[in-house]
Subunit: 269 residues, 2 copies
Protein backbone atom coordinates (compact mmCIF):
# COMPACT_ATOMS: atom_id res chain seq x y z
CA UNK A 1 0.00 0.00 0.00
CA UNK A 2 1.60 3.26 -1.16
CA UNK A 3 1.97 6.40 0.85
CA UNK A 4 -0.42 9.27 0.15
CA UNK A 5 0.87 12.85 0.24
CA UNK A 6 -1.40 15.79 0.81
CA UNK A 7 -0.17 19.36 0.21
CA UNK A 8 -2.22 22.14 1.75
CA UNK A 9 -2.24 25.15 -0.59
CA UNK A 10 -5.03 27.07 1.12
CA UNK A 11 -7.12 26.44 4.21
CA UNK A 12 -9.12 29.61 4.68
CA UNK A 13 -12.73 30.31 3.87
CA UNK A 14 -14.27 33.00 1.69
CA UNK A 15 -12.36 36.01 2.99
CA UNK A 16 -8.55 35.82 2.81
CA UNK A 17 -6.74 36.75 6.01
CA UNK A 18 -3.16 37.43 7.04
CA UNK A 19 -2.78 33.70 7.64
CA UNK A 20 -5.18 31.97 5.23
CA UNK A 21 -5.71 31.78 1.49
CA UNK A 22 -8.76 30.20 -0.14
CA UNK A 23 -9.11 26.42 -0.60
CA UNK A 24 -6.69 24.24 -2.52
CA UNK A 25 -5.02 20.87 -1.93
CA UNK A 26 -2.88 18.50 -3.94
CA UNK A 27 -3.32 14.80 -3.28
CA UNK A 28 -0.59 12.50 -4.53
CA UNK A 29 -1.74 8.91 -4.70
CA UNK A 30 -0.17 6.03 -6.67
CA UNK A 31 2.25 8.40 -8.43
CA UNK A 32 -0.56 10.64 -9.62
CA UNK A 33 -1.35 14.23 -8.57
CA UNK A 34 -4.90 15.48 -8.09
CA UNK A 35 -5.72 19.13 -7.47
CA UNK A 36 -8.77 19.53 -5.23
CA UNK A 37 -10.38 22.97 -5.42
CA UNK A 38 -8.53 25.95 -6.75
CA UNK A 39 -9.16 29.19 -4.90
CA UNK A 40 -7.40 32.40 -5.83
CA UNK A 41 -3.65 32.19 -5.31
CA UNK A 42 -3.31 28.42 -5.66
CA UNK A 43 -0.85 28.76 -8.53
CA UNK A 44 1.11 31.34 -6.53
CA UNK A 45 1.41 29.05 -3.51
CA UNK A 46 2.42 26.22 -5.85
CA UNK A 47 5.15 28.42 -7.33
CA UNK A 48 6.35 29.46 -3.85
CA UNK A 49 6.51 25.80 -2.79
CA UNK A 50 8.28 24.78 -5.99
CA UNK A 51 5.50 22.35 -6.95
CA UNK A 52 5.75 21.18 -10.54
CA UNK A 53 2.55 21.03 -12.55
CA UNK A 54 3.72 18.59 -15.22
CA UNK A 55 2.24 15.62 -13.36
CA UNK A 56 -1.11 17.29 -12.81
CA UNK A 57 -3.81 15.99 -15.14
CA UNK A 58 -6.98 16.18 -13.06
CA UNK A 59 -8.67 18.98 -11.15
CA UNK A 60 -11.72 18.45 -8.95
CA UNK A 61 -13.90 21.42 -8.01
CA UNK A 62 -16.33 20.88 -5.13
CA UNK A 63 -18.63 23.80 -5.90
CA UNK A 64 -18.80 27.14 -7.65
CA UNK A 65 -18.10 29.56 -4.85
CA UNK A 66 -15.22 31.88 -5.61
CA UNK A 67 -12.99 30.68 -2.79
CA UNK A 68 -12.98 27.24 -4.41
CA UNK A 69 -12.47 28.14 -8.08
CA UNK A 70 -11.25 31.72 -8.69
CA UNK A 71 -7.67 30.46 -9.07
CA UNK A 72 -8.48 28.21 -12.03
CA UNK A 73 -8.22 30.77 -14.81
CA UNK A 74 -4.78 31.94 -13.69
CA UNK A 75 -3.48 28.40 -13.29
CA UNK A 76 -4.80 27.24 -16.67
CA UNK A 77 -3.40 30.36 -18.32
CA UNK A 78 0.05 29.90 -16.76
CA UNK A 79 0.20 26.25 -17.84
CA UNK A 80 -0.28 27.40 -21.42
CA UNK A 81 2.46 30.04 -21.11
CA UNK A 82 4.74 27.25 -19.92
CA UNK A 83 3.97 25.40 -23.15
CA UNK A 84 2.10 22.49 -21.57
CA UNK A 85 1.08 19.84 -24.07
CA UNK A 86 -0.73 17.24 -21.94
CA UNK A 87 -4.51 17.65 -21.67
CA UNK A 88 -6.12 18.76 -18.41
CA UNK A 89 -9.33 17.24 -17.08
CA UNK A 90 -11.60 19.32 -14.88
CA UNK A 91 -14.43 17.72 -12.91
CA UNK A 92 -17.00 20.26 -11.80
CA UNK A 93 -20.59 21.45 -11.99
CA UNK A 94 -21.54 22.08 -15.64
CA UNK A 95 -21.78 25.83 -15.07
CA UNK A 96 -18.01 26.06 -14.65
CA UNK A 97 -17.37 25.38 -18.31
CA UNK A 98 -19.95 27.99 -19.34
CA UNK A 99 -18.24 30.55 -17.14
CA UNK A 100 -14.64 29.68 -17.96
CA UNK A 101 -14.78 29.10 -21.72
CA UNK A 102 -15.35 32.76 -22.69
CA UNK A 103 -12.51 33.77 -20.34
CA UNK A 104 -10.15 31.19 -21.78
CA UNK A 105 -11.13 32.19 -25.32
CA UNK A 106 -10.27 35.80 -24.57
CA UNK A 107 -7.24 35.57 -22.30
CA UNK A 108 -5.63 32.38 -23.61
CA UNK A 109 -6.35 32.48 -27.31
CA UNK A 110 -3.84 29.86 -28.38
CA UNK A 111 -3.96 27.48 -25.46
CA UNK A 112 -1.06 25.08 -25.84
CA UNK A 113 -3.04 22.10 -24.51
CA UNK A 114 -6.60 20.82 -24.44
CA UNK A 115 -8.97 21.19 -21.51
CA UNK A 116 -11.73 18.63 -20.98
CA UNK A 117 -14.56 19.63 -18.72
CA UNK A 118 -16.40 16.74 -17.10
CA UNK A 119 -19.79 17.83 -15.78
CA UNK A 120 -20.60 16.22 -12.45
CA UNK A 121 -23.86 16.08 -10.56
CA UNK A 122 -22.94 17.08 -7.00
CA UNK A 123 -26.28 15.78 -5.69
CA UNK A 124 -25.59 12.18 -6.64
CA UNK A 125 -22.98 9.72 -5.42
CA UNK A 126 -21.12 8.48 -8.49
CA UNK A 127 -17.71 7.30 -9.67
CA UNK A 128 -16.37 10.18 -11.75
CA UNK A 129 -12.79 9.07 -12.32
CA UNK A 130 -11.29 5.63 -12.57
CA UNK A 131 -8.01 4.30 -13.82
CA UNK A 132 -5.96 1.22 -13.05
CA UNK A 133 -5.13 2.23 -9.48
CA UNK A 134 -7.29 5.16 -8.38
CA UNK A 135 -11.02 5.74 -8.18
CA UNK A 136 -12.76 9.01 -7.32
CA UNK A 137 -16.37 9.24 -6.15
CA UNK A 138 -18.50 12.29 -5.52
CA UNK A 139 -19.71 12.71 -1.93
CA UNK A 140 -22.99 14.69 -1.92
CA UNK A 141 -22.91 17.51 0.65
CA UNK A 142 -25.40 20.11 1.86
CA UNK A 143 -24.48 23.68 1.01
CA UNK A 144 -26.06 26.86 -0.33
CA UNK A 145 -25.16 25.86 -3.90
CA UNK A 146 -24.79 22.36 -5.40
CA UNK A 147 -21.69 20.96 -3.72
CA UNK A 148 -19.94 17.66 -3.32
CA UNK A 149 -16.89 16.26 -1.65
CA UNK A 150 -14.60 13.68 -3.23
CA UNK A 151 -13.58 10.24 -2.04
CA UNK A 152 -10.23 9.14 -3.45
CA UNK A 153 -9.50 5.42 -3.23
CA UNK A 154 -6.35 3.59 -4.13
CA UNK A 155 -7.71 0.33 -5.51
CA UNK A 156 -6.18 -2.92 -6.57
CA UNK A 157 -7.66 -5.80 -8.51
CA UNK A 158 -8.27 -9.09 -6.76
CA UNK A 159 -9.61 -12.34 -8.24
CA UNK A 160 -13.30 -12.64 -7.43
CA UNK A 161 -13.19 -16.44 -7.27
CA UNK A 162 -15.25 -16.76 -10.42
CA UNK A 163 -12.49 -16.09 -12.89
CA UNK A 164 -13.02 -12.33 -12.85
CA UNK A 165 -11.67 -9.47 -10.72
CA UNK A 166 -13.02 -7.09 -8.13
CA UNK A 167 -11.51 -3.75 -7.14
CA UNK A 168 -10.50 -3.67 -3.50
CA UNK A 169 -9.92 -0.26 -1.95
CA UNK A 170 -6.74 0.34 -0.01
CA UNK A 171 -5.75 3.85 1.04
CA UNK A 172 -8.69 6.27 1.05
CA UNK A 173 -8.95 10.04 1.40
CA UNK A 174 -12.23 11.91 1.77
CA UNK A 175 -12.46 15.65 1.09
CA UNK A 176 -15.69 17.10 2.49
CA UNK A 177 -16.08 20.86 1.99
CA UNK A 178 -18.27 22.95 2.14
CA UNK A 179 -21.18 21.53 4.10
CA UNK A 180 -23.78 21.99 6.76
CA UNK A 181 -23.59 19.22 9.34
CA UNK A 182 -25.04 16.10 7.73
CA UNK A 183 -24.61 12.39 8.38
CA UNK A 184 -25.82 11.38 4.96
CA UNK A 185 -22.34 10.54 3.66
CA UNK A 186 -20.98 8.85 6.80
CA UNK A 187 -21.51 5.34 5.47
CA UNK A 188 -19.82 6.21 2.18
CA UNK A 189 -16.59 7.36 3.81
CA UNK A 190 -16.50 4.77 6.61
CA UNK A 191 -12.99 3.89 7.72
CA UNK A 192 -11.12 6.38 5.51
CA UNK A 193 -7.45 6.83 6.29
CA UNK A 194 -7.82 10.58 6.31
CA UNK A 195 -10.94 12.72 6.40
CA UNK A 196 -10.74 16.40 5.53
CA UNK A 197 -13.90 18.00 6.88
CA UNK A 198 -14.55 21.70 6.78
CA UNK A 199 -14.57 23.48 10.11
CA UNK A 200 -15.45 27.05 9.31
CA UNK A 201 -16.63 28.02 12.80
CA UNK A 202 -16.50 27.08 16.48
CA UNK A 203 -19.50 25.87 18.48
CA UNK A 204 -19.75 29.36 19.96
CA UNK A 205 -20.81 30.53 16.48
CA UNK A 206 -23.18 27.61 15.81
CA UNK A 207 -26.13 29.79 14.87
CA UNK A 208 -24.20 31.82 12.25
CA UNK A 209 -22.60 28.59 11.10
CA UNK A 210 -25.98 26.98 10.36
CA UNK A 211 -27.25 30.13 8.64
CA UNK A 212 -24.38 30.11 6.14
CA UNK A 213 -24.51 26.31 5.79
CA UNK A 214 -21.13 25.46 7.26
CA UNK A 215 -19.87 23.17 10.03
CA UNK A 216 -18.18 23.70 13.36
CA UNK A 217 -15.02 21.97 14.57
CA UNK A 218 -17.16 19.80 16.89
CA UNK A 219 -19.38 18.75 14.03
CA UNK A 220 -16.35 17.81 11.92
CA UNK A 221 -15.15 15.70 14.85
CA UNK A 222 -18.55 14.09 15.22
CA UNK A 223 -18.55 13.05 11.57
CA UNK A 224 -15.02 11.65 11.94
CA UNK A 225 -16.18 9.62 14.95
CA UNK A 226 -19.30 8.28 13.25
CA UNK A 227 -17.33 7.42 10.11
CA UNK A 228 -14.59 5.75 12.14
CA UNK A 229 -12.00 7.77 10.22
CA UNK A 230 -8.38 7.08 11.18
CA UNK A 231 -7.49 10.76 11.21
CA UNK A 232 -9.34 14.02 10.81
CA UNK A 233 -7.95 17.11 9.09
CA UNK A 234 -9.86 20.34 9.58
CA UNK A 235 -9.71 23.54 7.53
CA UNK A 236 -11.72 26.21 5.72
CA UNK A 237 -11.29 28.44 8.73
CA UNK A 238 -13.35 31.59 9.10
CA UNK A 239 -11.56 34.93 9.21
CA UNK A 240 -13.45 35.54 12.49
CA UNK A 241 -11.32 33.07 14.44
CA UNK A 242 -7.77 34.32 14.83
CA UNK A 243 -6.27 31.51 16.89
CA UNK A 244 -6.60 28.21 15.05
CA UNK A 245 -5.74 26.18 18.15
CA UNK A 246 -9.31 26.97 19.22
CA UNK A 247 -10.50 24.83 16.30
CA UNK A 248 -8.02 22.13 17.17
CA UNK A 249 -8.93 22.01 20.85
CA UNK A 250 -12.65 21.87 20.11
CA UNK A 251 -12.28 19.02 17.62
CA UNK A 252 -9.71 17.06 19.63
CA UNK A 253 -11.95 17.00 22.68
CA UNK A 254 -14.24 14.71 20.63
CA UNK A 255 -11.80 13.18 18.17
CA UNK A 256 -8.19 13.18 19.45
CA UNK A 257 -6.60 12.31 16.10
CA UNK A 258 -7.35 15.69 14.58
CA UNK A 259 -4.90 17.86 12.65
CA UNK A 260 -5.08 21.46 11.49
CA UNK A 261 -4.71 22.09 7.75
CA UNK A 262 -1.78 24.49 7.62
CA UNK A 263 -0.87 26.20 4.37
CA UNK A 264 2.42 25.13 2.89
CA UNK A 265 2.47 21.87 4.85
CA UNK A 266 2.68 18.38 3.43
CA UNK A 267 1.05 15.46 5.25
CA UNK A 268 1.70 11.82 4.52
CA UNK A 269 -0.61 8.98 5.44
Amino acid sequence: MGEARLTILGSGSARPTFQNSPSGQILELCDKSFLIDCGEGVQITMARMGIRTSRLYNIFISHLHGDHCFGLLGLLSSLSMQGRLQPMHIYAHADLEKLLRPQLDYYCKDLSYEIFFHAINPRKRAVIFEDRTVQVETVPLKHSVPCCGFLFSETHRQPDGEGGFVRVPRKRYAYCSDTLYTERFVEQIEGVDMLYHESTFLEAQAKLCRAVMHSTASQAAKIATLAKARRLLIGHFSARVIDHTDFLNEAQSLFPDTLLAKEGEILTF
Copy 2:
Protein backbone atom coordinates in the same frame (compact mmCIF):
# COMPACT_ATOMS: atom_id res chain seq x y z
CA MET B 1 2.69 69.23 -1.03
CA GLY B 2 1.54 65.98 0.53
CA GLU B 3 3.48 62.80 0.74
CA ALA B 4 2.62 60.01 -1.69
CA ARG B 5 2.68 56.39 -0.50
CA LEU B 6 3.08 53.49 -2.86
CA THR B 7 2.45 49.91 -1.71
CA ILE B 8 3.85 47.14 -3.88
CA LEU B 9 1.42 44.20 -3.89
CA GLY B 10 2.97 42.31 -6.78
CA SER B 11 5.99 42.94 -8.98
CA GLY B 12 6.30 39.80 -11.07
CA SER B 13 5.34 39.23 -14.67
CA ALA B 14 3.04 36.62 -16.18
CA ARG B 15 4.33 33.53 -14.43
CA PRO B 16 4.30 33.62 -10.59
CA THR B 17 7.55 32.56 -8.94
CA PHE B 18 8.68 31.77 -5.42
CA GLN B 19 9.39 35.47 -4.98
CA ASN B 20 6.95 37.32 -7.23
CA SER B 21 3.19 37.62 -7.60
CA PRO B 22 1.50 39.32 -10.55
CA SER B 23 1.12 43.11 -10.78
CA GLY B 24 -0.64 45.28 -8.23
CA GLN B 25 0.08 48.58 -6.51
CA ILE B 26 -1.78 50.95 -4.24
CA LEU B 27 -1.04 54.64 -4.59
CA GLU B 28 -2.13 56.90 -1.78
CA LEU B 29 -2.26 60.53 -2.80
CA CYS B 30 -4.10 63.39 -1.11
CA ASP B 31 -5.83 61.00 1.32
CA LYS B 32 -7.17 58.86 -1.50
CA SER B 33 -6.24 55.29 -2.42
CA PHE B 34 -5.93 54.10 -6.00
CA LEU B 35 -5.43 50.48 -6.95
CA ILE B 36 -3.32 50.11 -10.08
CA ASP B 37 -3.65 46.73 -11.78
CA CYS B 38 -4.99 43.71 -9.95
CA GLY B 39 -3.25 40.44 -10.75
CA GLU B 40 -4.20 37.21 -9.02
CA GLY B 41 -3.52 37.32 -5.30
CA VAL B 42 -3.76 41.09 -4.86
CA GLN B 43 -6.56 40.75 -2.29
CA ILE B 44 -4.54 38.07 -0.49
CA THR B 45 -1.46 40.28 -0.24
CA MET B 46 -3.68 43.14 0.94
CA ALA B 47 -5.12 40.90 3.66
CA ARG B 48 -1.62 39.76 4.70
CA MET B 49 -0.46 43.38 4.91
CA GLY B 50 -3.56 44.43 6.84
CA ILE B 51 -4.57 46.95 4.16
CA ARG B 52 -8.11 48.20 4.56
CA THR B 53 -10.24 48.48 1.47
CA SER B 54 -12.78 50.94 2.80
CA ARG B 55 -10.92 53.91 1.32
CA LEU B 56 -10.54 52.31 -2.09
CA TYR B 57 -12.94 53.74 -4.67
CA ASN B 58 -10.99 53.59 -7.91
CA ILE B 59 -9.22 50.80 -9.75
CA PHE B 60 -7.12 51.36 -12.87
CA ILE B 61 -6.34 48.42 -15.16
CA SER B 62 -3.54 48.97 -17.68
CA HIS B 63 -4.47 46.12 -20.04
CA LEU B 64 -6.30 42.82 -20.21
CA HIS B 65 -3.56 40.32 -19.69
CA GLY B 66 -4.26 37.92 -16.84
CA ASP B 67 -1.33 39.01 -14.67
CA HIS B 68 -2.86 42.50 -14.54
CA CYS B 69 -6.52 41.68 -13.90
CA PHE B 70 -7.18 38.08 -12.74
CA GLY B 71 -7.40 39.23 -9.12
CA LEU B 72 -10.32 41.58 -9.75
CA LEU B 73 -13.16 39.08 -9.46
CA GLY B 74 -11.94 37.80 -6.10
CA LEU B 75 -11.40 41.29 -4.74
CA LEU B 76 -14.80 42.58 -5.88
CA SER B 77 -16.47 39.46 -4.50
CA SER B 78 -14.77 39.79 -1.11
CA LEU B 79 -15.76 43.46 -0.82
CA SER B 80 -19.38 42.41 -1.19
CA MET B 81 -19.03 39.70 1.46
CA GLN B 82 -17.68 42.40 3.76
CA GLY B 83 -20.89 44.35 3.17
CA ARG B 84 -19.30 47.26 1.32
CA LEU B 85 -21.76 50.00 0.47
CA GLN B 86 -19.64 52.58 -1.36
CA PRO B 87 -19.54 52.28 -5.15
CA MET B 88 -16.37 51.13 -6.92
CA HIS B 89 -15.13 52.70 -10.14
CA ILE B 90 -13.07 50.63 -12.54
CA TYR B 91 -11.17 52.25 -15.40
CA ALA B 92 -10.22 49.75 -18.08
CA HIS B 93 -10.58 48.68 -21.68
CA ALA B 94 -14.27 48.16 -22.52
CA ASP B 95 -13.80 44.39 -22.87
CA LEU B 96 -13.25 44.05 -19.13
CA GLU B 97 -16.86 44.81 -18.33
CA LYS B 98 -18.05 42.29 -20.93
CA LEU B 99 -15.85 39.63 -19.38
CA LEU B 100 -16.52 40.44 -15.74
CA ARG B 101 -20.26 41.10 -15.70
CA PRO B 102 -21.35 37.48 -16.34
CA GLN B 103 -18.94 36.35 -13.62
CA LEU B 104 -20.21 38.91 -11.14
CA ASP B 105 -23.80 38.03 -12.00
CA TYR B 106 -23.12 34.37 -11.25
CA TYR B 107 -20.74 34.46 -8.31
CA CYS B 108 -21.89 37.64 -6.57
CA LYS B 109 -25.63 37.64 -7.14
CA ASP B 110 -26.53 40.23 -4.55
CA LEU B 111 -23.56 42.53 -4.72
CA SER B 112 -23.77 44.86 -1.74
CA TYR B 113 -22.44 47.85 -3.70
CA GLU B 114 -22.46 49.23 -7.22
CA ILE B 115 -19.64 48.85 -9.71
CA PHE B 116 -19.16 51.48 -12.41
CA PHE B 117 -17.05 50.49 -15.37
CA HIS B 118 -15.41 53.39 -17.18
CA ALA B 119 -14.25 52.36 -20.64
CA ILE B 120 -10.92 53.92 -21.53
CA ASN B 121 -9.14 54.10 -24.86
CA PRO B 122 -5.58 52.99 -24.11
CA ARG B 123 -4.37 54.35 -27.46
CA LYS B 124 -5.21 57.95 -26.63
CA ARG B 125 -3.84 60.30 -24.01
CA ALA B 126 -6.79 61.56 -22.01
CA VAL B 127 -7.82 62.69 -18.52
CA ILE B 128 -9.91 59.80 -17.19
CA PHE B 129 -10.31 60.84 -13.55
CA GLU B 130 -10.41 64.22 -11.94
CA ASP B 131 -11.49 65.51 -8.60
CA ARG B 132 -10.58 68.52 -6.51
CA THR B 133 -7.01 67.39 -5.83
CA VAL B 134 -6.06 64.49 -8.10
CA GLN B 135 -6.03 64.01 -11.85
CA VAL B 136 -5.33 60.78 -13.71
CA GLU B 137 -4.29 60.62 -17.37
CA THR B 138 -3.81 57.61 -19.60
CA VAL B 139 -0.28 57.14 -20.96
CA PRO B 140 -0.46 55.25 -24.28
CA LEU B 141 2.05 52.37 -24.38
CA LYS B 142 3.10 49.80 -26.98
CA HIS B 143 2.20 46.23 -26.14
CA SER B 144 0.71 43.13 -27.74
CA VAL B 145 -2.79 44.18 -26.66
CA PRO B 146 -4.18 47.71 -26.15
CA CYS B 147 -2.35 48.98 -23.08
CA CYS B 148 -1.80 52.23 -21.26
CA GLY B 149 0.00 53.51 -18.23
CA PHE B 150 -1.40 56.07 -15.83
CA LEU B 151 -0.09 59.45 -14.77
CA PHE B 152 -1.35 60.48 -11.34
CA SER B 153 -1.01 64.18 -10.52
CA GLU B 154 -1.73 65.95 -7.31
CA THR B 155 -3.09 69.27 -8.50
CA HIS B 156 -4.02 72.47 -6.85
CA ARG B 157 -5.92 75.46 -8.16
CA GLN B 158 -4.12 78.74 -8.74
CA PRO B 159 -5.57 82.05 -9.89
CA ASP B 160 -4.90 82.47 -13.60
CA GLY B 161 -4.64 86.27 -13.38
CA GLU B 162 -7.85 86.74 -15.33
CA GLY B 163 -10.25 86.04 -12.49
CA GLY B 164 -10.27 82.29 -13.15
CA PHE B 165 -8.21 79.31 -11.98
CA VAL B 166 -5.73 76.91 -13.50
CA ARG B 167 -4.78 73.50 -12.11
CA VAL B 168 -1.10 73.28 -11.25
CA PRO B 169 0.40 69.84 -10.84
CA ARG B 170 2.43 69.10 -7.74
CA LYS B 171 3.43 65.54 -6.91
CA ARG B 172 3.27 63.21 -9.90
CA TYR B 173 3.53 59.45 -10.27
CA ALA B 174 3.72 57.65 -13.62
CA TYR B 175 2.93 53.93 -13.91
CA CYS B 176 4.17 52.54 -17.24
CA SER B 177 3.58 48.80 -17.69
CA ASP B 178 3.60 46.77 -19.95
CA THR B 179 5.47 48.21 -22.88
CA LEU B 180 8.01 47.78 -25.60
CA TYR B 181 10.66 50.49 -25.46
CA THR B 182 9.09 53.68 -26.76
CA GLU B 183 9.84 57.34 -26.25
CA ARG B 184 6.39 58.49 -27.31
CA PHE B 185 5.25 59.26 -23.74
CA VAL B 186 8.48 60.83 -22.48
CA GLU B 187 7.22 64.38 -22.86
CA GLN B 188 3.97 63.55 -21.06
CA ILE B 189 5.69 62.26 -17.94
CA GLU B 190 8.55 64.78 -17.88
CA GLY B 191 9.83 65.55 -14.40
CA VAL B 192 7.64 63.06 -12.51
CA ASP B 193 8.55 62.50 -8.88
CA MET B 194 8.46 58.75 -9.36
CA LEU B 195 8.39 56.70 -12.53
CA TYR B 196 7.42 53.03 -12.40
CA HIS B 197 8.60 51.49 -15.64
CA GLU B 198 8.39 47.80 -16.38
CA SER B 199 11.68 45.96 -16.57
CA THR B 200 10.75 42.42 -17.51
CA PHE B 201 14.16 41.40 -18.84
CA LEU B 202 17.87 42.25 -18.84
CA GLU B 203 19.78 43.50 -21.89
CA ALA B 204 21.16 39.98 -22.27
CA GLN B 205 17.62 38.92 -23.23
CA ALA B 206 16.95 41.91 -25.50
CA LYS B 207 15.82 39.83 -28.45
CA LEU B 208 13.24 37.81 -26.48
CA CYS B 209 12.23 41.03 -24.76
CA ARG B 210 11.39 42.73 -28.07
CA ALA B 211 9.56 39.67 -29.34
CA VAL B 212 7.16 39.68 -26.38
CA MET B 213 6.92 43.49 -26.40
CA HIS B 214 8.53 44.20 -23.07
CA SER B 215 11.40 46.41 -21.86
CA THR B 216 14.79 45.74 -20.30
CA ALA B 217 16.16 47.37 -17.16
CA SER B 218 18.45 49.55 -19.32
CA GLN B 219 15.52 50.71 -21.41
CA ALA B 220 13.56 51.63 -18.28
CA ALA B 221 16.59 53.63 -17.12
CA LYS B 222 16.87 55.34 -20.51
CA ILE B 223 13.24 56.45 -20.34
CA ALA B 224 13.77 57.74 -16.80
CA THR B 225 16.79 59.73 -18.01
CA LEU B 226 15.00 61.19 -21.04
CA ALA B 227 11.95 62.07 -18.92
CA LYS B 228 14.14 63.63 -16.21
CA ALA B 229 12.27 61.57 -13.60
CA ARG B 230 13.37 62.16 -10.02
CA ARG B 231 13.35 58.44 -9.22
CA LEU B 232 12.81 55.24 -11.14
CA LEU B 233 11.07 52.17 -9.77
CA ILE B 234 11.41 48.96 -11.78
CA GLY B 235 9.29 45.83 -11.61
CA HIS B 236 7.33 43.24 -13.63
CA PHE B 237 10.30 40.93 -13.38
CA SER B 238 10.52 37.83 -15.53
CA ALA B 239 10.60 34.45 -13.83
CA ARG B 240 13.78 33.81 -15.84
CA VAL B 241 15.88 36.17 -13.74
CA ILE B 242 16.37 34.84 -10.23
CA ASP B 243 18.56 37.56 -8.75
CA HIS B 244 16.81 40.90 -8.91
CA THR B 245 19.97 42.83 -8.14
CA ASP B 246 20.89 42.11 -11.76
CA PHE B 247 17.98 44.35 -12.79
CA LEU B 248 19.01 46.96 -10.26
CA ASN B 249 22.66 47.01 -11.33
CA GLU B 250 21.77 47.27 -15.00
CA ALA B 251 19.36 50.17 -14.47
CA GLN B 252 21.52 52.01 -11.92
CA SER B 253 24.49 52.08 -14.27
CA LEU B 254 22.41 54.46 -16.43
CA PHE B 255 20.07 55.99 -13.85
CA PRO B 256 21.50 55.86 -10.30
CA ASP B 257 18.25 56.77 -8.56
CA THR B 258 16.61 53.42 -9.35
CA LEU B 259 14.71 51.25 -6.87
CA LEU B 260 13.47 47.68 -7.10
CA ALA B 261 9.73 47.12 -6.60
CA LYS B 262 9.65 44.65 -3.73
CA GLU B 263 6.38 43.00 -2.75
CA GLY B 264 5.07 44.01 0.63
CA GLU B 265 7.11 47.22 0.69
CA ILE B 266 5.80 50.73 1.03
CA LEU B 267 7.62 53.65 -0.58
CA THR B 268 7.01 57.29 0.18
CA PHE B 269 7.91 60.16 -2.08
